[in-house]
């Protein structure tokens, strides 16, 4: 049976902050834009972002983009590309004011300017003192942003396809991306979206881990699509642990807790971050704080009967501040830890939160791959933005509030690039004859299955394996073992069985297709991690500790380079880090202390 073909100038996969910022830019320019989403747009995971958007507005204290640039480079442990970081930090005030003009309800100062709060890793004068840089809407910044963008998109005639799951990129004989296949959940029918360009904005794959702050929808669908289409995934060994996930629940307590003055204490009540980071203390970057917490626990200073968590103390802030600035933290404490944070500390542990790696792109959001000696050759017709992409502004560790900023800056930049390169006047390239064959084969295999494991059983085993072998505490032996275990699970995932073969709203089929995407993200993570023989940012390996030659285990001589993992052949390649900013002096690598 012939498939329905929908024709658009641009098709955006994912309706979170990056996808909707990009679609808005395109729709405002009069382009015909479709946005495909597994869930209703305002229920995308961007809604969970609490803390704020980083931008050096200087509303509270002296600040400028150079300081933001420095913090981001240092935060990335020098793995971030300095051209992309300069671009992002310089664009930051623009995208915040842009959002303000769209009606985003930012918190305000008495003089009407945007209120900015301090945040971990944000400093003035190149690390000298903390500076308030986070622009927030209470602790619901992501929610306010999604609503603002959705309303503007509706007004600009963006077409939304809700409860559609994109499946595979369609590439022609020249390798150009000319469309995408997608499954409509309500009917179970497959369709083709024929487009001049496809933009992946599918978010991260945080559900490859058992202890995660990510919602269940974060299954790395864009990563799976890219990997199956022969595109490498970059720096997937780097996953950020949020220092303050609620012990035994995973639910996130915003970094705003520490920004507003919350203190991490060990079982002796000691404010231990003073020992590790005398200047920034509890406001040091997330990876650093997470490792310090891990060390406190390992050295027997953890709290509770099992000594396996750290206490986050907000009691000195007072009820008024907590209820005004951190209301959701109060609710989470009550409902997931049985703690009233106004009166007692709340148990927290480092929890998987954010994927620094992803689909390699340049600063315009164009997907780039190594070809003919150029490590950054553009794949025509394909863009990636937001958490699924790796531009790379986060390097080995993301600075707090740079995630929402990334969505806005590169969502807008991708839209602008398409407009400036005259997408409207370009012709559609023809669809290849086998446009939907790959997807049809994948679905037919599931439909023909008569025996095998259920998708959720395989996914649960994968999560446990990733947690054990690629968690906050990494050793070379454990990672090597993890590669074997993940490849065994990959084999099992090829034989997943579908009990229910119906078409209409068959969520078992959807979940099985999601597992295929989770597998690609997990393999990329595990293989890339085991191969990187150093400690850098979030990738901290016990075997590679602090030595005079390699301070804190970071080996710039051999490993100041980006990892590229290819699904085909499960192989690795590498490309250089861009240490050259666009206009300013490079910040050379130094030992990262706080």
């Amino acid at each position: 049976m012939a498939l329905a073909i929908h024709k658009y100038d641009a098709v955006v996969i994912g309706a979170g902050g990056a996808g909707m910022r990009c679609s808005l830019q395109l729709a405002r320019a009069g382009l015909k834009v479709a946005v495909l989403s597994k869930v209703f747009p305002t229920r995308s995971h961007t809604v969970a972002a609490q803390g704020g958007i980083g931008a050096a507005l200087g509303n509270m204290d002296e600040d400028n983009w150079h300081y933001h640039f420095y913090d981001t480079v240092k935060g990335s442990d020098w793995l971030g590309d300095q051209d992309a970081i300069e671009f992002m930090c310089r664009e930051a005030p623009k995208v915040v004011y842009d959002l303000e003009h769209m009606g985003m309800p930012f918190d305000r100062n008495p003089d009407g300017t945007i209120y900015q709060r301090p945040f971990g890793g944000h400093s003035a004068k190149y690390g000298e003192k903390p500076v308030p840089r986070a622009c927030a809407a209470a602790d619901r910044t992501g929610h306010a942003m999604l609503h603002t963008l959705y309303q503007q998109n509706v007004r600009s005639n963006t077409i939304f396809y809700v409860e559609w799951m994109a499946q595979d990129l369609i590439r022609d004989a020249e390798g150009d991306v000319v469309g995408v296949t997608a499954l409509e959940m309500e009917t179970g029918e497959l369709a083709i979206f024929h487009a001049k360009c496809v933009l992946l904005a599918t978010g991260g794959a945080g559900r490859i881990f058992a202890a995660s702050t990510n919602a269940y929808i974060n299954t790395g669908d864009g990563l799976g699509m890219a990997a199956r289409a022969g595109i490498p995934l970059e720096d997937m060994e780097f996953w950020q642990f949020h220092p303050t996930g609620v012990h035994n629940a995973g639910v996130l307590l915003t970094e705003g807790c520490r920004g507003e003055g919350g203190i991490l204490r060990n079982k002796h009540g000691e404010r231990f971050m003073e020992r590790y980071a005398p200047k920034l203390k509890d406001l040091a970057p997330r990876d650093f704080v997470s490792r310090c917490m891990d060390q406190e626990i390992k050295e027997g200073r953890g709290c509770g009967p099992n000594g396996d968590y750290i206490a986050l103390d907000l009691t000195h802030l007072g009820a008024e501040t907590i209820m005004k600035r951190l209301p959701s933290v109060h609710e989470i404490g009550k409902n997931f830890a049985n703690v009233d944070v106004i009166r007692e500390p709340i148990p927290v542990v480092p929890t998987i939160h954010y994927q620094m790696g992803g689909i390699p792109t340049n600063i315009h959001g164009q997907v780039v791959v190594p070809k003919d000696g150029n490590p950054n050759t553009v794949v025509p017709g394909l863009y990636a933005i937001g958490e699924c992409s790796c531009v790379s502004v986060h390097g080995a560790n993301r600075l707090g509030t740079n995630s929402l900023l990334d969505l806005l800056v590169f969502g807008r930049a991708a839209g602008n690039h398409l407009i400036e390169t005259a997408l409207a006047s370009k012709a559609w390239k023809p669809l290849p004859a086998d446009a939907a064959d790959r997807t049809r084969e994948r679905i037919a295999r599931l439909d023909a299955s008569t025996s095998g494991e259920y998708a959720q059983d395989v996914a649960n085993d994968l999560r446990q394996t990733m947690q054990k072998h690629a968690g906050v505490f990494r050793t070379q032996a454990s990672m090597d073992e993890g590669v074997k275990r993940v490849m065994e699970i990959d084999e099992r995932a090829r034989h997943i069985a579908l009990k229910d073969k119906s078409k209409v709203f068959n969520t078992a089929r959807i979940e099985a297709l999601e597992v295929a995407n989770l597998m690609e993200a997990a393999k990329a993570t595990m293989v890339s991690a085991a191969a990187r023989k150093e400690s850098r940012g979030a990738h901290t390996v016990n075997d590679y500790g602090d030595t005079p030659e390699f301070p804190l285990g970071r080996n710039d001589r051999d490993w100041l380079r980006h990892t590229l993992w290819y699904s085909e052949g499960n192989r690795l390649d590498y490309k250089p880090v861009n240490l050259k900013p666009l206009t300013v002096e490079s910040i050379p690598p130094v030992k990262r202390t706080f």
Binding site: K38, V39, T42, R43, A48, Y216, I217, E331, N335, F505
Partner: protein, 84 residues
């Protein structure tokens, strides 16, 4: 008892942007499965149309501004949250 399709649709719409909501609905469906009356089903669907933050406000008891006719389901969700 819901049909397989209605139950699947309900569970999918309970896939949320906020992990907090995911966890509560997971607990709820683990307890009740597909065993919902027509009225309960309608209440759930109405609540699931809400944005995540507003839904979480209702479940966490921060807001009592639930859609008309959904009080019974809000109470059940609150109970599910308090008694995992």
């Amino acid at each position: 008892m819901l049909s397989d399709t209605d139950y699947a649709r309900l569970r999918w719409r309970a896939r949320r942007g906020l992990l907090e909501n995911d966890l509560v609905f997971e607990r709820l469906f683990k307890r009740r499965g597909a065993g919902w009356s027509e009225d309960e089903h309608a209440q759930l669907l109405r609540l699931l149309e809400l944005d995540d933050v507003l839904l979480w406000d209702l479940i966490a008891g921060r807001s009592d501004d639930w859609p008309e006719g959904t009080a019974e389901m809000v109470a059940l969700l609150r109970e599910t949250l308090r008694n995992p």
